[in-house]
Each structure stands twice: as C-alpha cells, then as structure tokens.
C-alpha cells in the first residue's frame, strides 16, 4: 500500500514539475545538439553533392560510410571524443539539474518556480555531484567484480563447458541487474535527503541513502523495480518505433525529430517519477523522523 501511495504521489508530483523536466530536456537537447550540429555539417560536407546518400533512404548501408575513407576516420574520432565530452559535461549538468528537480519534488515545495529550481540546483550542486560520482563509481566497480572477473576467469578456463560459461555470465548479469536498483535507491534517497536538508553534508546524505535503502529494502526495492519496468517498457516502444521509421522527405524528418524529442521528454518524465516516488517514500518513512530528514 505504501508503495502504491508513493507511486501515486510521485506521479502527481512529477507532473507538477513538468516545467522542471522541460528544463532538463532543453538543456540536454542543447548539450547534445552542440555536439551533433557540427557532426551533421561535417557529414553533409563529406558527402557534398553525391547521390550516394540515396542508399541510406532505405536501411543503414555501412558501405556508404566506409567509402569516406580518411574522412570517416576523422568523423569517428570527432564522434568518439565528442561523445566523451558530452557524457562528462552531461554528468556535471545532471548534478545541477537533479538538484533543482529533487527540490521541486518535495512535499512542501509548493508550485514550481524556475527561480527556486535554479537556486536549489546551485545549492545542491556539489553534494549531488559527489553523490552521483560515488554511486557511479560503485556501479562500475561492482560491474567489474560481478561481470568482468568471472568472464576473465571463464575465458582462461579449459575445463568449463560453453553452456556453463554462458549460464555463469547470465547469472552474473542477472545478479548485477538485481543489485542495480539498490544502488539507484541509495543515490535517490541520498539526494532526496539532501534536498530536504540542504545544510547537511553529501557524505551524511549518502550514509542516509544507504540506511534508508536497507532499512526499508522490501518496499523500496519493489517500488524501484516497478519504476524501472515502466522505463524499460517505454524503451522497448521507442526501440520499436524509432529505428524502423525511415522518412525520406524533409517534412518527415522534421516530424521524426519532434516525435523522438517528445519520447525523450516522456523518458525524462518517467525518470522524474522515480525521483518523486522515492522522495515520497522517504517522507513517509518511519526512519526519517528519527534521523531528522
């Protein structure tokens, strides 16, 4: 029941913060566009007035790109480096934006205001950055321990069967995926706690995140699992629609841009629902009052 109420409350709060989500979308769109626009121009100038792009009208044709020769190599370097920069910049910006979002999702936050959004973002920025960094580091570390280590051992083993290897990898992956919601909960609880008590340190918030997650593991885990499932469902829908949609005229391509960005907005809304539900669950938690969060 607690989970259901949190989901319901979270859903309403995320809708209430639609402007904040819009802000997150806009900033991420600008960030990615800043990288993609020159990439598009480079690609356009590489193909020039060639009609080879006709071959892309249907399905993706790898030969169209391989014929770019050294230009392709430059484009790939640009893309790789650009992607890394976008990821790192996105990581930092996300710390700022989630600072604003978590603040707007609190019970007593009132109506959404941009001033309050940016104020909270700047106030929480450093703490959120540290929390995100530490939890991300834990995720990568666990990924290495749970997945890469067994895979390395298997690859050197002469006695283990292929089916056995496959089962081990699948089990390891499943185990890692089972742990992942816990780490999301830690990050979300920590940030929700920090948003509620802006003066506390990020490490204290992180400690709270762990305690809150394991203190109410069952309800928290079910809630997170449900929210992840909802996000996966949207992901599947997007994967079914976007790659298969191949408009060939300018108008169709523009419509594709609009629809894809709309889908991304929904994706962000779902993620905000996660933040809001966890915040709501935290506020209803018996542990919180004890810890003065």
């Amino acid at each position: 029941m607690k989970v259901f109420i949190s989901l319901q409350t979270g859903f309403l709060r995320s809708l209430r913060s639609w402007k904040g989500v819009l802000m997150v979308w806009l900033i991420l769109f600008i960030l990615v566009s800043v990288f993609m626009y020159p990439f598009r121009s480079s690609l356009g100038s590489a193909f020039g007035t060639s009609m080879i792009t006709e071959k892309l009208a249907g399905e993706f044709d790898i030969a169209v790109f391989t014929d770019l020769g050294s230009t392709m190599k430059s484009l790939l370097s640009f893309f790789t480096a650009g992607f890394l920069i976008v990821y790192l910049t996105g990581f930092i910006i996300n710390a700022f934006l989630t600072g604003g979002l978590f603040n707007s999702l609190r019970k007593d936050s009132g109506n959404f205001s941009y001033q309050e959004f940016f104020r909270a973002g700047s106030k929480n920025f450093l703490s959120f950055l540290v929390i995100s960094f530490i939890v991300t580091l834990i995720i990568y570390f666990l990924f290495g321990i749970i997945l890469l280590v067994p895979i390395s051992i298997i690859s050197f083993s002469e006695t283990i069967s292929e089916k056995g290897s496959y089962i081990i990898v699948i089990c390891a992956l499943a185990f890692f995926l089972m742990i992942l919601p816990i780490l999301f909960l830690v990050a979300d609880y920590a940030r929700a706690g920090k948003a509620a008590n802006e003066n506390d340190s990020c490490f204290r918030a992180l400690g709270f995140g762990f305690r809150q997650t394991f203190g109410e593991l069952k309800s928290s885990y079910i809630l997170m699992l449900f929210l992840i499932m909802a996000q996966i469902a949207l992901g599947v829908i997007i994967l079914l629609i976007l790659p298969a949609w191949r408009p060939v005229k300018g108008g169709g391509v523009f419509l594709l841009l609009i629809i894809s960005q709309l889908m991304f907005y929904f994706r962000l809304l779902l993620k905000t629902w996660r933040y809001a539900s966890v915040t709501s669950l935290m506020e209803n938690s018996s542990l919180v009052s004890k810890e003065n969060f």
């Binding site: 990615v32 598009r40 030969a63 002469e158 089916k163 408009p247 005229k249 894809s260």
Partner: protein
Amino acid sequence: MKRTFVIFFVLFFGKSCLQAQIINKVPLSERITGYKIDVKLDTDAKTVGGKMEAYWVNKSNDTVPDIQMHLYMNAFRSSRTTYYKEMRGSPGEDDLDLGWIEIESFKDGNGFDLLPGMEYISPDDGNEEDKTVIRVLLNKPARPGDTVRVKIGFETKLPSRIRRTGYSGDYYFVAQWFPKFGVYEPAGMRYAIAGGWNCHQFHATSEFYSNHSVYDVTVTLPANYITGSGGMLISETADGSMKTQVFRAEDIVDFAWTAWPGYAVLTDRWNNVNITLLMPEERIKQAERQFTAVKNALEYLGENVGPYPWPHLTFVDPPSIGAGATGMEYTTLFTSESSYFMPSFYYRPEMVTVHELGHAYFMGILASNEAEEPWLDEGVNSFWEVRIMDHFYGNNSGRINHPLLKISDAAATRLPYMMSPSRQAVSSNEYSWKYPHGTSGIMSYFKPATWLNTLMGIVGEETMNEIFREYYRKWAFKHPSGKDFVNVVNEVVKLEHGEKFGPDMNWFFDQTLYGTGICDYKVHGIGNHRYHKPQGKVESGDTSEIAGFNSDSLYFAVAELERIGEIMLPVDVLIHFTNGEEVLEKWDGKARYKDFEYTGNREIEWVKIDPEFKITMDVNYINNSMTLSPQKAPLHRLVNKITAFIEFYLSIMLL
C-alpha cells in the same frame, strides 16, 4: 609355398591398397603420391607417433636424385623458426607447449637406410633454425616413371594452444602432422623453367601445396574419444580402453583429423554426399544452420563451378577450447566457427562454413599453390563465398541481417581492401610470405575477391560462371597457376563476347592482379550553360548546331568526369536531365578526363558513374555521382536518430 604366397599377398595388397579405388570408382587425379600411415595418439605426452609408408611417382622426364618433404610441425619447435620469426612470437617455454616432428627412421622400399642422406633445408629464407623441409638423397636416382617408396618412423608432438593444429585440454586437432611430399614440378609446369621440387617452408601467412593423394590412415587412441577426419571410416576395432580406426581418403591434398570426447556427431545428406557434422553437444541447436549452409554451398558451387566429386564430407564446429582450429580447410574435412550463443541474425557460422567448404574446390579440386599464389584459393574462394552468402541470405544482408543493421557479405569483403592504408604496397607478383605491412589479408582475400567481383561486373554473371565451369573442366585435380586462370578467362570471354573487350583480358589482370594501382572515377562537375546569341563581331552568323531548338531555353549541358586512380576500366555513365530524360553513356575509362556534352532544351540534373555499382574496385563510390539537388533528408534522419539515442543513453547512464 605357403610362405611365398603370404609374402606375395602382403606385397601385392600392401602395395595396391594405396592405389586401388575404394571411395570413387575411378581415380579423380593422377596417382603421384600416396600414404599409408599407422599411428597412436598418446594423450599424456600429446604425441602422435608411428610409421608411414608412402610413394612418389616420377611423372616427369627428369631423373631426380632426391625427394623433398614438408615437416610442418617443426614450425612450432622454437621461437627461431621461420613461422615464429614472421609471427614475432614464441611457442612457449614449457616442453608441452612446443610442437615438433622427429624422423626416427627413413628407409626406401628396399630397406636401404636413407636417414644419413637426410638434411634440413630452408629454400625460402635460408633460416638454419627452420626445420620444416627436408631433402633426402635417394639410394638410386628416380628415373622417369619410377616409383619411389619410403618407410618412415616418426613421432609428432602436438603444440599446445591450437594454432590450426595442436591440443587444448583433451581436444585435439591434428593437421600438418606427418612427413608430406613436396610437389615435383617438371619444366613447363606452372612457372617452372627447369624441373625441381616445390617445397616451401612453413610461413606465418601462407598455406600449402600438395599433390592429390590416396590416404590409408590407421589411428589408435583412447576409446572414449570421438573422431572425425577427411577420410571415410573403413573399420573400427576396440581393444580394452583403446580403439583403432582405419580411414581412407582419395584424391585429396591433405589429411587431417580431430579427436575429442565431447563431440556430438550429426549426419545429413545432400544428393549423393553424406555430410557429417561434429560439434559440441551444447551447440546442437545450431546444427540445422550449419547443414543448410553446407547444402547451399554445395548446390551453388555444383551448379556454377562443377560437381562436388566425393561421396563424403565432414565438418567440425570446434568447441571454444579448440578455437584455434576454426576456419581451416582440408578438402573433405573443414572447420567452421561458432559459439554457444549465436544470434540468428549474425551469419558468421554460415559464412565460415560456406567459405571453408568452398576450399574443397579452390585448392582442393583446383590445387593451386597457396604459398605462391594465395589469391587463387583464398581470393577466388572469397569471391564465391560472397556470391553464395548474398544469394541465400539476402543481397544486402549476407553477413548481418538485423532490422537495425544489415551488412552484405560483398560490402564486408570489399571494406578491408577499401580501408587498408597499404592497399597499393604490393601486387600479386610477390609470394605470400613477402606481403609487407600486414597486407597478407587484403592481398590473399579481399583485393582479389573485389577485383573478381569487378570482372563479373564487366563481363557479366553468366560469363563469369562459364569461366569457372571451364576452369574446373580444364584444371580439376591438377595444379593450375594464375596464368592458367587468366588464359581460361581470355578464352571464355572471347568465346562469349568476341572482341568486345579487346583481343584478351590481360589489360584487366595487368592492372588489378599484377598492378598496384587503385580505381577511382569521379564526377567533377555538372555544367548547364544557357545559350546566348552571338555578340560582337561574329562572322559566321548564328550557329547551325541549335537549329530545331527553341533558343530561348537552349542549354549547352556538360557532364565532367575524371579518372583519379591509375586503373582504367570501362564504365557506364548515367545522365539524367531536368525533363526526365536519361542517357546511358559508355566510357572506356582510359582518359584522365572526359566530358559528355549535350545541346538542347534540357539541363543535366544528375550524373552517375557506374550506376549499378559493378566496378566494386572503385575505392570511392561517393564521388561517383553528383546532383544539383542533393538529398539531405537521409543524413538528417540519421543524425536525428543518433541525437535521440545519445540523449536516451545519457538519461540511462546518468543517475
């Protein structure tokens, strides 16, 4: 009397056993060499040892004083062998890691000890540490028509970490494991000016060359091992924990076998060919894919090249511990490549199976010299692999067929040639072990497959099939060289097309096979110049060339083409006008530039060189066309999708 009869019986059947026909009613090849081998697999010492009786018939008019044989397994003897020097590697330090072959005794048919006259030679590089070739002085020189019989006692130690051959745990793939005759080439055969043995060392990037032979192989090994070989199983007897199997193979150029307790044995049949597949039990669900691929290849090659002449075929999908044995061919035995989890959209197992089966033709039946002219087996075979894969698995999806990504085998094969920075470093005039700067792959596989595709684009698919049918008719179970293939092309093209492509096709081969140039045609520009009435002091009055046209909307239109590369090939040029008309021009492709000019009430809208992409050697398709109204929508669509996916990726990866 009884004793005499027994001796006669043993001599007669012992000798005739190597030559009598058991599998095919009549010999497919000239009987030049034959082997009768009896060995035991020692699974503790990782050795295969025993004795071998073999013969070589001097079919030449020369008197030959010696014989030369390959001892390929000595390539794994130390880090100083030619193989490891070229690989810049090492077989390992542990004795069990090494591979070698020791000749324990060497006698001729009369019992004369030839061992004192045996020496290691290094005809390719003079490397004294390389012991992969021996020369053995005969007691009496072999006169024309003589049969040289030898009896050899040998022990072969298999290397660990399978490199085509060797062992890994309890998995064995036993190839290049016995002393094997080189090929005696009399003057006039292939490129031989004088008679001599063609017996190259074992190199890192080259393969093999042998006569078609008859093999009678007896293997004794632990009873729990399941085996497969290039021969037919004739008999099997058990003796306690051991078993002895006798295999027979005819008219094949090499004999290899494998043993592993974990194999599942599956069988199928195509026409009169019994197909056996050995694979790990866990991969049985993939058997149907593999059998389908084999049958597809047999059907396609049978129809377009020639019949598969043996009634048996064994192929192996090695387990992951034997991954080093994957993708190798021994005519009637070959290895494929797969893994426990293999997505159905990814045709890698099928591709490897089709490719390796193709080798039954290209070097199995048409036994070219793989060390000297690898393009004749790997290149030609890749060309057929591409055709088979794209024919049966989709013209644009012969390699990968996923809704998000499709890759044809043709594109995947052209790509390495296109992308190689050293694609102009060397021509096929060089021997394979001399290909520099890592060009072995492109020179053996990808460049020849690409120019063969181009040749097909020029002469047509049916002519290309006829070329290979004729090549098969003329050279099956012989040793064709590159020039023999070129001669067949010249004959067939002339027969089918007359002088359409000139007196012969040498101009093509000189540029592609024996040249280092690249092919690149380019549309430099499109010009549409409005007609202006003559102004100034014009003496000839108005031009006559515009008679019949409305001079108000008259254009001089020009398509400007250039040849950037060195290679000159005939190309089609398709020119599209604003009024919807299209003109298909033929350009011999020789000049450095060419302008196609038109006068009329129409402008050129776009130009395409080689509109059907027949000239796959062209290293840049992008500059092959030009339009006045380029279609940017497909690119923008792609960029929009990438943008969306990066955004989604960020939203997933960022907490």
